[in-house]
């Protein structure tokens, strides 16, 4: 058999220099993140409880309690290392502006400083909280629960240590580094902020739920390339399914753990059914049709179709589960932790899917529908599967959402919800799971935490500096502007998102004309 001796030997391709862009942005997110966390660890006690000083156990408390002996040394070490970490991004920016690489020795230095800081935080924590060495730190209210700031400080140092100590790995394996940092942070989050119950509520109700939604939408938009503008409809379907089956409305009380699967199943069914009419459409028309469905579904709920949905008031007093003695309604952090488990499972499953036969088929479909069909991919079932899987994840999110807030109304699922989820994946990086996590974290933090609290803060500030108009500003009205600006700026300046997947980055900048199979076949 001829071994194709004629074939010329191709020149080797230059070794791919790794997805450099995404790695550096991960580095920046880490760097800024650790600086912010450490800064917050000082400021937070004032924010969440203005009289915190002396009540909790934050670095601030340590300072105000005038430590002695080894305590003083520890506090000084803390102060110095924190200052280094907080100023680090400034140093990075300075080097960046001069277009120079930051010297390696600075990285090592900062890595060591972060580790020292972490060790001394643990030491302070152990000395003061566990061994109760009050002579070292002066008068400290000992019956206080562990202060969030301590956990914040630790998380900040861990991230800083990873960022600077393992800078090479961060830039070359961003996803791995991200997982290594995000997981402990995610687990500790309720502990860090346990003195701020509304923050934990935020973490469960907004962060975790929206992260799930964004992950689901990412399957449809990111993997399969189908722009779904009515994604909130499936969220609504999941939420209403579970609300109907776990509330006095129809006197059915199923446990949440069953409803998760039920919600996912019902939502995915609707995903396939509502996806079916869009299959032959061009990308932009598909977007508008899904938008239409996204408006019709909540409208059906408003009009109380079949007396099932309770009309504009929705369904209220939805059951909240209990796990042994822990009642989720009073311990919202358990919602957060269960959602965290769900999110992690979903992420693992989606990553599997992304790197499988189906994941490749989706990318192929996104790139060239005609060639994909000619290569043996069933375009219909592949698209429907994307819709169904995406919808099922939002069904899960809906089940949790109903259970957390105990009341679902049609207004919770309007167009702006769909756009907010879209903004999250656009911000983080369409098609990239890590990016989606970052995007949903950043946007939910700004929209559902910062903006909600800005009202109160500006009111306080207005009183303090005697400018009462500050108190009248309604910052939650700014959400639309935040979404709008996010979408515009990201698409214009960084279409791949903060953490782009390598292919999508180039794809979005220089895509060609896409043509659908149906158009080629003359059927659309």
């Amino acid at each position: 058999m001829p071994r194709l001796g004629l074939l010329q030997r191709p020149q080797p391709v230059t070794p791919q220099a790794g997805p450099r862009g995404s790695g550096t942005s991960t580095f920046w997110i880490f760097s800024l993140g650790s600086a912010m966390l450490l800064l917050m660890s000082w400021l937070l006690p004032w924010f969440v409880r203005p009289t915190s000083s002396g009540v909790g156990y934050s670095p601030m408390d340590v300072v105000t309690s005038s430590p002695t002996g080894i305590g003083t040394i520890l506090v000084y070490i803390l102060a110095v290392t924190m200052l280094i970490m907080v100023l680090s991004p400034v140093l990075e920016i300075a080097y960046r502006l001069r277009k120079e690489a930051t010297p390696r020795r600075f990285d090592t230095l900062r890595g060591i400083a972060a580790v020292i800081g972490l060790v001394s935080t643990v030491a302070v924590f152990v000395l003061a909280r566990i061994m109760r060495e009050e002579p070292l730190f002066g008068q400290i209210d000992s019956h206080s629960i562990t202060d969030s700031a301590v956990w914040l400080t630790m998380a900040g140092y861990i991230i800083a240590a990873v960022t600077y100590g393992a800078r090479q790995r961060v830039t070359h394996r961003p996803s791995l580094a991200f997982g290594a940092v995000a997981l402990p942070f995610g687990l500790l989050l309720p502990l860090m902020f346990h003195q701020a119950p509304d923050f934990i509520l935020w973490a469960a109700e907004s962060l975790a739920v929206y992260m799930l939604l964004a992950l689901g939408l990412n399957v449809v938009v990111g993997f399969a390339g189908l722009l779904d503008l009515g994604y909130a409809a499936f969220f609504a379907i999941g939420a209403y399914t579970c609300a109907s089956l776990a509330s006095p409305k129809h006197s059915i009380h199923l446990p949440l753990w069953v409803l998760i699967f039920l919600g996912a199943a019902v939502a995915s069914m609707f995903g396939a059914v509502l996806g079916a009419p869009t299959l032959r459409l061009r990308g932009d028309y598909l977007a508008i049709v899904t938008l239409g469905f996204g408006e019709i579904i909540p409208d059906l709920a408003t009009n109380n179709v079949g007396k099932l949905t309770g009309g504009p008031d929705g369904i209220s007093s939805i059951d909240q589960p209990a796990l042994g003695p822990i009642h989720f309604g009073t311990n919202k952090e358990w919602y957060y932790w269960s959602l965290l488990v769900v999110v992690i499972v979903v992420i693992i499953l989606l990553r599997n899917l992304e790197r499988s036969r189906m994941g490749r088929a989706w990318v192929a479909l996104r790139e060239d529908e005609v060639a994909a069909a000619a290569t043996g991919i069933n375009t219909t079932s592949t698209k429907l599967l994307a819709f169904a899987i995406g919808a099922s994840i939002s069904g899960i999110a809906g089940a949790f959402y109903g259970s957390i807030v105990t009341v679902v109304t049609p207004q919770d699922f309007n167009f702006s919800v769909s756009v907010s989820i879209l903004s999250m994946i656009v911000l983080g990086g369409i098609g990239n799971i890590t990016g989606v996590i970052v995007g949903s974290f950043a946007l939910t933090f700004v929209i559902f935490w910062v903006l909600q609290n800005l009202n109160e803060w500006s009111g306080t500030l207005g009183q303090t500096i005697n400018v009462p108009t500050l108190g009248n500003l309604n910052f939650s009205q700014y959400t639309y502007i935040v979404y709008g600006v996010t979408l515009i700026l990201m698409m214009l300046l960084r279409p791949g998102g903060l953490i782009p997947s390598r292919a999508r980055q180039i794809e979005l900048k220089s895509g060609g004309e896409e043509e659908s199979l149906a158009a080629v076949q003359g059927r659309a």
Binding site: L291, L487, L492
Partner: protein
Amino acid sequence: MSDETTASAARATAGAIGHGTLVDPRGLSARTDRAGTTRPAVVRTLAFLRKLYGLVQRYFPQFLIAGIAFAILKVYANGGLTLMGAQIKNALVLGAIYALVAIGYTMVYGIIELINFAHGDVFTLSGFYAFVIAGLSGGAIGSLATHSGIGLLLALLIIFPTTMVAAGFTGVVIERVAYRRLRDAPRLAPLITAIGVSFLLEGLMLVIFGADNRPTKLSSWITGRAVRVAGVDVNWKDIFVVATALGLMFSLGAFVRITTLGKAMRATAQDRSASLLSGINVNRTISATFFIGSALAAAGAIVYSINYDLIQWNLGYQLGIIAFTAAVLGGIGNIVGAGVGGFIIGVISVFGGQLAGGEWSNSLVFAILVIILTFRPVGLFGVDVTTRA
């Protein structure tokens, strides 16, 4: 990554099928059609659905006309001639506004294949422009308009050009800032940006003008009854709205047909790169398209305020989508079609809303949108003028 090593590793783990051959021997044997034999029920259902789809697609205009005729007759049966007449009047007024907005969608889509999602919000913003302009110097224009006939004419001559020019420049700025850089990007990128612009505009209007309905006080400008036909009061206002819309549409038609710029627009819509080669300033042509589209939306917003006397920050979202539906119905890219589509959608939403009940009007509009896009994305007249596929 070292492909060589992976490849040789693959070779080492031999036993793989067809190894060393390009043709997989397993593929050469005859095979049965799995899907055709194992799931006959599904296949049959699908075939039926496909046939139904084809049928609806083919006779869509007939179905639509039959549906509209039925709705009108039903209204006649329910409320007699007066109700039907009043609703036809309402439908024409609403349709005129939809048509004015729809033209903006259709022109922009025709020329850069973008669903300008922000167009509806440009409409709202123009309404606020008119609101602000009418309220300038203590509402001088308003009192001028209500003072006398000539005063009204003067007021209209002030408010229409100023608002339309302001809106036109808004449209041009939006295109320049948000869309131009993405002109050669894949279709979904500018669409996402357009949604962003829409949200930004809505957010700004929400912050500046508040969440509630703002009465514009323009409704007092034109008053009185013109004629009474079959028990239906036709007011001067109604006539003014429809006449303005028709007048503007005909002027636009003439403009596109006669002027150089209009010809350049049509050429650019047909083939952008060829137009560029033949010396047309494509950027300026596209800017002009945005200017005209936005100016017409502003005219729509003024007649809307004159007729309904209110404006609200998120008014444009739904109205924009309805107008887009009208543009699709008339065949996107087709200016005359957009005008006709606007009036048809006006009839559908008024009579449909009358029959189905007000709480369903929202769903009705979106259902029409879904149905049109699904079954007849090329529009009623069936010629897709823009797509190259």
